[in-house]
Amino acid sequence: MHAFVPKRHREYELIYVLSPTTTPAGATRIADFITEVVGAHEGKIIKVDLWGIRTLAYRIHGFRQGIYYFMRFIGTQGMVEELERRLRISEPVLRFLNVKASDRLVDPASYQVNEEEAKFTPIDEILARLASPEAEVPEGAALEGEDEAHPDKTDDRPVAVVPDVPKDDSDDDDEEDDED
């Protein structure tokens, strides 16, 4: 049924969000299977970045916060399918997004990788900070309240460039309407 897919490696970006109730062992388990899948398909992890705990823009499964991991890797189509399958059935993963970073084909063997950058950072420290009662707001966590924190940021919105909109496009769907 499936056509033969040659092993063509490309660069991908993966972001996954873990629930704040994830244990350090659970996060390590996910990191382990990602490393295993990438290794099994002759891929390479280029970079792993723990963004930390951030406030979600909307609640997911009742959680208001999530632990964001970002990674860049070299992989094949089959590897991405397997990775997504396993992320989908992982309980602590609230959301994940895998996108092609570039259409260019790369050779993983000739790709230089900084070993330090390709390591998964454990989440123990984040969970400890989350558990402490006087936890300070981590960087990037105040997404919803950022307008209050930086009121000058909203000034350069391009909305007010033209105050009066031409009347002849009234048949367009008006994005500005408040429907609810």
Binding site: L94, V99, P158, V159, V161
Partner: protein
């Protein structure tokens, strides 16, 4: 219609809008950076049409894709209703 069409339109519709991403070389569209996307969303979280922002269609398409990716990752909201 006056003879000078350009002057007429400038007077009626104000300054000509330009695509921010075409003009500013350092401006990029990135779904990982919700701060940059928020300029193109209403307070309700809706995507502002390009007739308002002045974006060109190429960059509006890229922006829409980035916003939809960011929404999926809960970096920007689908909608802001005031209810929680």
């Amino acid at each position: 219609m006056p003879k000078d069409k350009r002057a007429f339109y400038r007077r009626k519709f104000g300054r000509k809008k330009v695509c921010k991403f075409c003009v500013q070389s350092d401006a990029s569209i990135d779904y990982k950076n919700p701060d940059s996307l928020r300029h193109f969303l209403t307070d309700r979280g809706k995507i502002i049409p390009r007739r308002i922002t002045g974006n060109c269609s190429k960059h509006q398409r890229a922006l829409t894709l980035a916003i939809k990716r960011a929404r999926h990752l809960a970096l920007v909201p689908f909608t802001v209703t005031g209810r929680d």
